[in-house]
Point group: C2
Chain length 248, copies 2
């Protein structure tokens, strides 16, 4: 094995190790959600807050595109925006998430307004968009590699929601089925790019740091939901109160 190949394998191993240690499938909120332990209001709190993350992902990807001067790299990345915002052919992830909102008894217009989002969730997500706008292209791409670990959590979620919650019809959770197809395609490209461009130890450490940063962004959102709606259940000023925006 050549030295370059060996170094790439080593970087990939380090990246995957971060997933095993820090990906938010380890967060107790997800274990509670997927095993049927959440009340409908706790599910709603998750849907409302996670919408904010969904809604900012296309802005994050556009911020990335705006810094790329290679038309081919832009073109390879651009489909991510269509996956979320929709295309002439398909509605896109944001519309699908709003269908989930409706299925859990929330007014989609209330969710789309992002009015009830916990400020700590907003800070974490906004930090991600800013990170991609400001850090190196290598770090911007490496921060997307949480998607390496997404198919596994999406499969658990689809199975867990269908098993434990009456709202969870296949149509209601269609968002996750689509991500099962989209995320692996995207992350294969991103991982390859990172492995090819992180050549020095400093670049490899920067890629690792970027992935850790993104893990923190995901984890912080669940901590905020946990604190506000589970334990201790102190809803921060301005965040969603369980009667707001409920239509069922």
């Amino acid at each position: 094995m050549s030295e370059a190949v060996s170094e790439r394998t080593c970087l990939e191993t380090r990246l995957r190790q971060i997933g095993r240690e820090r990906y938010h499938d380890k967060h107790p909120f997800h274990q509670m959600l997927h095993s049927g332990g959440c009340t409908m209001d706790q599910v709603r709190a998750w849907v409302i807050n996670r919408y904010y993350y969904q809604s900012r992902i296309p802005m994050k990807d556009a911020a990335f595109l705006s810094r790329v001067d290679d038309p081919m790299l832009r073109r390879a990345w651009r489909s991510r925006i269509g996956d979320h915002d929709g295309t002439a052919e398909q509605e896109g992830g944001i519309v699908r998430w709003l269908k989930l909102a409706e299925a859990v008894g929330l007014d989609p217009a209330y969710v789309a307004s992002t009015r009830g989002v916990i400020p700590a969730v907003r800070f974490a997500v906004d930090a991600y968009v800013r990170y991609v706008r400001e850090q190196s292209l290598l770090q911007a791409i490496a921060s997307s590699l949480t998607e390496l670990f997404a198919p596994s959590i999406h499969k658990q979620r689809i199975a867990g929601l269908l098993e434990h919650y009456a709202f969870a019809t296949p149509a209601a959770i269609d968002y996750f089925r689509h991500r099962l197809e989209e995320a692996p395609r995207d992350v294969a490209f991103a991982l390859q790019w990172v492995l090819e461009h992180a050549n020095t130890p400093a670049e490899q450490d920067a890629a690792i740091a970027a992935l850790v940063f993104k893990m923190d962004v995901l984890w912080a959102q669940l901590d905020a939901i946990w604190g506000g709606y589970i334990d201790p259940g102190h809803i921060p000023p301005g965040a969603w109160q369980p009667s707001e925006g409920v239509i069922l």
Copy 2:
């Protein structure tokens, strides 16, 4: 006519007046180019420098998208990036511009490297990308309204190039034919948005200032080409020397 409608008509009149006064169809370079007065090296200087503008437009549009939190506005704007970077169905404006480069005897890889771009052109174009990244969404959209005046110059250019230059086959100047279709669709949306969102006198003045700014960005590029390659013909250090990148 209601007051709101009357104010919109007035703003549109002001915007169109700026085009009549400041659009770069008035620049002597374009008059020289379209009437067959340019040498091949002067045409090449234009193709090399204008490529830099073309290549930054998708980055400008992505910078805009990255600031828009309305998925529908993002979706309406996103096709602009595909028009330039290409889609699965069509090659896009950047590839078409590189075909023009080849037709005028330039190595497309040299043009795509942007190595020979006049620094003043780079400054002007970079200022445009930064403007769209930093100013209000209204100003970002209003700065795109130079496209109101593009079909007329593209028609003159297509006719003038075909009449006066041997390189100008329909295939070589395909870029401009495509822009004849794309620009009117884009600008109709942008004009409507500006007229609907510039409601106060301050907002209307901001829209006007944005369009003037963009006119300056276009004009400055031609001034730099004129100074470097026509009169006085002092090529700035680092800018294209007429032997570089020529393949014919």
